[in-house]
Point group: C2
Amino acid sequence: MYSVSPQQNSEASRPFLTWQRIIDWAQEHYRVRSFSKDEKIPTRPGLLYLVQKGAVRLVGTAQVNATSATRLARISPEEAFLGFVGTGQPFEIVAQSPFTLQSYAHVDQTSVVWMYWHDLDNWPHFRREVLDAFRYQHQRKLLWLSTLGQRRTIDRLLGFLTLLIEEYGEPTDEGYCLPFPLTHAQIGSAIGSTRVTVTRLMGKLRQKGMIRTQGDNLLCLPTDSVLTTGNA
Amino acid sequence: MYSVSPQQNSEASRPFLTWQRIIDWAQEHYRVRSFSKDEKIPTRPGLLYLVQKGAVRLVGTAQVNATSATRLARISPEEAFLGFVGTGQPFEIVAQSPFTLQSYAHVDQTSVVWMYWHDLDNWPHFRREVLDAFRYQHQRKLLWLSTLGQRRTIDRLLGFLTLLIEEYGEPTDEGYCLPFPLTHAQIGSAIGSTRVTVTRLMGKLRQKGMIRTQGDNLLCLPTDSVLTTGNA
């Protein structure tokens, strides 16, 4: 349902050959659990997680800042949206001060399998698939960092949306659309901006025809935009 | 020389067991080349690169922005500093519009080995080390994205410096210091800010005792800061 579009994402979407066997194994061993929208997925460092169904949202929290002595910073640490993990994709959460990573179910009925790395000894080929998936995710994050280095917020916003929709978008009448909603506050938290600013700049991008929205606030890129951004 | 500090970075710094054999193989097959400071390292997608000596700087260029029709954007695309690749570490550059990634030697006499992925068929254990290294780099980039989601530039700056020095810093009298210089323009390009702003905010952080500089403009974190940021 929320699968990665094969056309745009050939590396990450190649079939996990032993996927069904993993799912069977996980059910036999009670290593699978379902979560409702925005429910926190408990994780431990050193474990490997696989999204069986739905989508996971990764979030980072900074515990270091230049004004951390103030009460404000202690009450509301800033949470940053770090991206999705789609169906069939692995993720791991390594605890690391001064930043912490967390995972949430982004949609209802998100189902997650967990295992120890050594459980993969049974499936050496699958282990390699998982490591290749992390390699791919790493490359995507480098592109993401490229856009966050841009000075103007509107450029970071457009770059961010382009990367996200390029990876997770599905073809519709409106172009390529994200299959799940993302709030303006979440977008702001990813690009170092605020909900208010994101709302304003989204309006600008919509006016210029650079983005669209579909139905229940789903974000879209016009098809020609996806095809031609490389030549811009 | 520019090795990763084992104490702070146990996963990435575990010895590459077959490292010497790889170096020998690379020299025999003319797969190693030396670069001077800031020289561009030519790369092709699908190839794997290993830093034998020195340090590599990854840079991303955005080719999409909300005002790309203007002449200004065409003349000076924004380059973002995306991090270092230290001695013994692998990197790869996957071409991907609307962003391009590039690599430069960050210090003189940086030496880089290149190979095809299938060359690693000879060293299956080493292949796994490389994939684990990418897995580690991916986790670091998630932490990096966490700090770039912070709204205030000074928080992004401090978070960025903390992560960088935590990973690459070496113990000195001034605390943990980066072993190579990084310009304020490069720092600004990483955190979505300008050279001028970085210079101003670095002054503030220095006044507060949150960062230091050593000798020839090397960036340092006071030792107690590294140890206590998690409790801030």
